[in-house]
Symmetry: C2
Subunit: 436 residues, 2 copies
């Protein structure tokens, strides 16, 4: 099949990230879609600006109309942001019969009803996975993955800046203003932080999540928002003493009287998984009647994390564009001809770190014998705990953590250790992964 | 459009749960799909057995062929389990041109290549979201949500029984055999627990995840599995002392030399979110090149949690069955005509619990004045912390947690409290949600 041509409006952080991901992963993406996706045109306000992406092969223009009027282009990626020009261009592109992929939460929260209705008339798709929680596929999870459920409520950490500030206040006992200044210096917070710290950005995202959870029209004006600016270091501490964490949550809840839509600082029991989502990370907890609670966690912002969602939407559109069976999601996610039989390592070739537990005679040199054996197999020791002898014990447990090594080497070392006269019984080994 | 007719093979836990969810949520589901979904036939081994579902309106039979040969039925739900009869019936149903939805991990892991190839020839879909991690939409997240990424590795707690056992061992310092016996009594573990505790069940699921992550053929014979039967209470304790938790992980990792496919007990740093996934819950952590780490958490088993995934697959098939634009995922997840404008509560009507912080004069009766005001608004107090006076302070912070109340009541109470002569300054209030 012939390639699908894509045009991009806006080459800033998200636009640049999207160009990079589409180019770097072009092969993997067409293994999944069965069609090549190429960016033929892009617009940007200032063509002389330094970019994070390579724009080779893309016709650039300062006039977005050149992108949306190109008859060859089937999909427009709106990555400008804001609700003025972006809205105008999206509506024009829809009128031109283009499918839209956008990362613009304000645009969808404030003008989504109008845009979706125009898209329905023009028989085109408008996709906005990137508008909520960056790279986490939460729109897909709710609209498709939980489609058999009635959603009772959802609660999300959906603003990374706010979560970074609250995490720093707790971890380091710092004040709000102090951390905000640092977040601004690091680029996590805007010079005018109102959108983030007053909950407006989170409110936009919450409105979108509530609409798809409950099937209600978008209505940002009915979202209650309270910011985190009045939270003190002391509140964070007292909450901790009581077993809670303070998070800036967006909550949407169906009640017998109506639907609650609210963004505010919230105490959550510290044992909840979502209470442990720290720094700039996002997470959404969804309570639904059949599946119960599910949680979705990941990066809520950043060039490539957001691009991940933009590209997933492009792939969805491409799969839907062609109406034959090939265009459906293939059974294993990749096209049948693209399922490649790679080398699978045997467990002897697998690399991990190890926890070792063994029983050693309490005499000089016993530990040295063991560490020498490990050194011979090039296995580095990360930590050793030797339990103190109690009431005259002579055989003591020794626990070691090693650095990563090939299982073969570890097998050789363990055999040798088990033959030492100072070691009793077998060595217990459990693999260790930092998952970092 | 006319209703879609569905036939079910197997009316046990998952089959019964699926009937219940499809019936209970019929209205919500057709708001999402635009078509009614009805179960017309089902088969079960023993028709006299007591069931968890109401089978009214469903033609029952002990002969599954009556279901798969019904020309009216478009989608077959294979919820028998096992790889003998299930495989035979699925292949026959495919040959009959039926779309398949299955929850059968062993069937897909062991015979998926053959089944997908038959389905492709017959131009039907085979969906298996319920085969991995129950109700968590992880197949959809990887195949569609992360389709722009190269997946580097994934690690999952994908067997609830094993995770329940390890959690109990840690929380209560119990031995493996002891907890296993309890898990069997509770129905979390089978009479023959080999599949769960030796990692075979997790191995099936890992194989499926690895195939869709990397685009490799299913090949369960190359998965390395090690069980949790040799983990001792002491290992769990020592790991804790070192800052780790032991989890039974399935890991699939792309390396320069080949792909690792392994299930084994694994130490993970306790600060990782996945290390805090306890009890029978499942979670999968996916590391991908653009989005970075994302995590998906939820119930990995249970009648309705698994049914949630089965029904989501049915909805996907129904949406794909009709080729017009209506069949696509609608913009807000519900059909445009089904977007219903519900009552949105104002924040004064929202119900939450509260954290209150106020400064109170250290004199008799000061606290009683406050608690009387709260009682008058029917606000119950859950906990009070009164800080001890240091070096002659007379004004002391008091922190209170209240039970859930309407915001209006709290506003009235706070106004009254702020007028007390023994209270200095304003009352700080932060909402509290247990999210349980």
């Amino acid at each position: 099949m012939k390639p699908v041509k894509v045009g991009i409006l806006g080459l800033g952080t998200v636009g640049g990230g999207t160009v990079n991901v589409l180019k770097r992963n072009a092969q993997e993406i067409s293994r999944r879609t069965g069609r090549e996706i190429i960016i033929t045109r892009a617009s940007a306000r200032d063509l002389t600006r330094k970019r994070i992406c390579d724009t080779q092969g893309i016709t650039l223009s300062t006039d977005s109309n050149e992108v949306i009027n190109d008859p060859e282009i089937e999909i427009i990626l709106e990555l400008i942001g804001g609700t003025g020009l972006a809205k105008e261009l999206v509506l024009k592109a829809i009128a031109n019969g283009k499918h839209i992929v956008t990362a613009n939460k304000a645009l969808i929260a404030l003008h989504g009803n109008e845009i979706f209705s125009a898209a329905k008339k023009a028989n085109v798709m408008v996709c906005y996975e990137a508008a909520v929680a960056g790279g986490i596929p939460i729109i897909k999870a709710i609209r498709e993955g939980l489609s058999g459920n009635q959603i009772n409520w959802l609660a999300g950490i959906i603003n990374g800046t706010g979560n970074f500030i609250l995490t720093e206040m707790r971890d380091k006992g710092r004040d709000f203003d102090d951390v905000l200044a640092e977040a601004q210096a690091l680029g996590y917070a805007e010079a005018d932080p109102t959108f983030d710290v007053e909950g407006i950005d989170a409110g936009h995202k919450l409105m979108i999540l509530a609409s798809i959870a409950f099937g209600i029209p978008l209505q940002f004006e009915n979202v209650f928002t309270e910011g985190i600016t009045k939270i003190t270091r002391e509140d964070v501490e007292y909450a901790g003493e009581l077993g809670y964490r303070i998070k800036h949550l967006g909550i949407a809840r169906k009640t017998a009287k109506g639907i609650e839509l609210r963004v505010h600082p919230t105490l959550i029991p510290e044992r909840r998984l979502i209470a442990n989502v720290d720094g700039v990370m996002n997470a959404i907890l969804v309570q639904a009647d059949a599946v119960g609670p599910t949680l979705y966690y990941g990066a809520g912002a950043g060039a490539e994390a957001t691009a991940s969602a933009v590209v997933a939407d492009v792939v969805d559109v491409v799969r839907a564009l062609s109406l034959n069976s090939e265009s459906r999601v293939p059974a294993l996610g990749f096209q049948e001809s693209e399922i490649i039989d790679s080398t699978i390592l045997t467990h002897e070739d697998i690399e991990t770190a190890y926890y070792l537990r063994l029983t050693v005679e309490d005499k000089p040199g016993a530990l040295a014998d063991i560490t020498n054996i490990l050194a011979k197999q090039n296995i580095s020791i990360e930590a050793i705990i030797q339990k103190k002898p109690l009431h005259g014990e002579t055989n003591l447990p020794v626990i070691m953590l090693t650095q990563r090594t090939i299982e073969k080497e570890m097998n050789t070392a363990i055999s040798a250790i088990e033959q030492l006269s100072s070691v009793t019984g077998q060595v217990t080994r459990i693999r260790l992964e930092t998952l970092g």
